[in-house]
Symmetry: C2
Subunit: 334 residues, 2 copies
């Protein structure tokens, strides 16, 4: 497959230009383009440039309000609420991160729920900025249905990522970021395109039976990581992200991909913790003990490290887009 | 196997009497006995009466300080710290739950870390009382080493449970409670006693190789639920429970079972969230929509329901202890 190499600056500018040409204001286009570029740089292609065409279609149709200004409210002493107002998630998330990281310096722990939001992209990017400021971050997001409740066969929940970041002294933070599905739905798509079977345990068909047929899997539901235990975590995330913010559940939310339908209006929750007061300032030292104990064992690595390496490489060498996607993006320019 | 039936009151009194006879003061003995009885009633036998002999041995030797009074400090506007002072976990947890549920009514979210603690028993019991008060609860606990970092072969982390509870309108709360190991180590013990193989995927031997030999598994480490993804959750819990509270990591902590050695001094974290301000009071209604969407599918049930049923049955019919355990307990009475 032939590819086109772009610098990160070029990808950012291209994404921004396309969004502005599709009913999105400059402030929002800037933030969305930055988030997609950061995802692409980290090798998270499912949240990167491949999203631009569907984002543009949704902004054009008004399914996502490209002109929405997210609205921040302090609802209790350590609690914030951002209403994304059916706009893109990233401007709401940026506002939320900024506000919660200020508030937590007074309160030790603080949380911000994000209501009426959209696809929130790389979950790790919602907590890494907190860890860069010396804070622990936790985030939870729901999405359109893809996972059934355990024992059932109809998709109710999204793949509902959890992210966690912890600061390290003079080092890049530890970042954990995972969807709650066993594998990303994208992997099933790839198998379907290639006409190859998928391993048992990834997904079930529309009747809830195990399947290795990727098309039957796409018509069915994805299985959670950790099976029955993971299914409970999926439910936990759904409640923290959607019920707490007063947003739509996975089974109520429209697709993040098509330009049709109402806004998905899903939710997110970001929690920030200042380790200083809890740990009596021992946190940084203790983290290093733990990281060393892990890395002393051959064959181990710390979560998130691979993404940082890819990010460094992308800053130097740019990113490679499939020719077909690049052509699509060219045709969408203003 | 013959069993002895005891009322919950009788088990509670027996546990209390044994603890008091083993260097534990009445206030602590009362709380520990209640926690063990509640575990037994919920069918969580690994955290119930079977713990009494090892708790007594640890209190007698001073490995656990049976006379410790946990100490509560407010460390920031929404942040509390309890030092369990190398005593039993339950008095510290009870103090923590009481304090955090008061504080959160002002702050929307609040957290309490518990330092220098011990075996914290049924994780769900740390969050269920919060949900009974209309709050969302999250808890994280670490324990002595049983799980290796992903790619490694030496145990660093405990089985590190996560619990979550959410309130329901005029109904028992939703309670999620799970260890991060694929199965409890106790199941491997049972297989070893019976001389039966264990399924592949539960554990690895001391060299990190897959094994179906339960003895090799006991000499090795348990595998996390969800494999590589679960391993990251194990690490997240270790940081939230131990690094944040300034407690010992799994690889530093002594056994929860033997009377020998220093105090394990592990940690816990409990987070309380008041859903009212975040959700603009829509939470209860939205929870019911979600619960109904799950239960509308045949074959599903809500997490925690089985335990409530067992609890009701135990209140009525008491609990059954193995004759051998009952004899042991009789011999430990004061």
């Amino acid at each position: 497959m032939s590819t086109v190499n772009l610098s990160l600056q070029a990808m950012n500018a291209l994404a921004k230009e396309i969004l502005i040409a599709h009913n999105t204001n400059e402030v929002n286009a800037e933030q969305v383009a930055s988030a997609l570029t950061a995802a692409e740089a980290d090798g998270q292609k499912g949240h990167g440039a491949s999203r631009i065409p569907s984002y543009a279609a949704q902004a054009k149709s008004g399914k996502v309000n490209g002109h929405a200004a997210p609205n921040l409210t302090k609802v209790a002493a350590a609690a914030l609420r951002v209403d994304a107002r059916s706009g893109f998630a990233y401007p709401a998330i940026n506002l939320a991160i900024e506000a919660v990281s200020e508030l937590v310096s007074e309160t030790g722990i603080a949380a911000v729920s994000i209501a009426n939001s959209h696809h929130s992209g790389v979950a790790g990017h919602q907590v890494e900025p907190l860890a860069q400021k010396g804070l622990i971050g936790l985030s939870f997001a729901n999405g359109p249905q893809g996972i059934a409740p355990w024992g059932g066969n109809k998709g109710l929940f999204g793949t509902n990522p959890i992210a966690f970041a912890a600061p390290r002294h003079k080092k890049k933070p530890l970042v954990v970021d995972m969807s709650m599905s066993k594998v990303a739905r994208g992997k099933v798509n790839v198998a379907a395109q290639k006409g190859e079977p998928i391993p048992e345990g990834w997904a079930v068909d529309k009747d809830g039976n195990p399947t290795t047929d990727p098309q039957a899997a796409l018509d069915g539901t994805m299985l959670p990581m950790g099976d029955a235990k993971g299914a409970q975590l999926v439910l936990m995330v759904e409640i923290l992200a959607a019920a707490l913010s007063g947003s739509q559940f996975g089974y109520e939310a429209s697709s993040f991909f098509s330009g049709e339908g109402a806004s998905p209006n899903v939710g997110q929750l970001i929690i920030a913790i200042d380790p200083g007061p809890f740990s009596r300032k021992t946190f940084a030292q203790r983290m290093e003990h733990l990281m060393r104990a892990i890395l002393d064992q051959p064959g181990t690595r710390l979560p998130g490290v691979r993404r940082f390496d890819l990010r460094d490489a992308a800053a130097e060498n740019g990113i490679d887009l499939p020719q077909e996607l690049f052509n699509d993006l060219q045709s969408l320019r203003g």
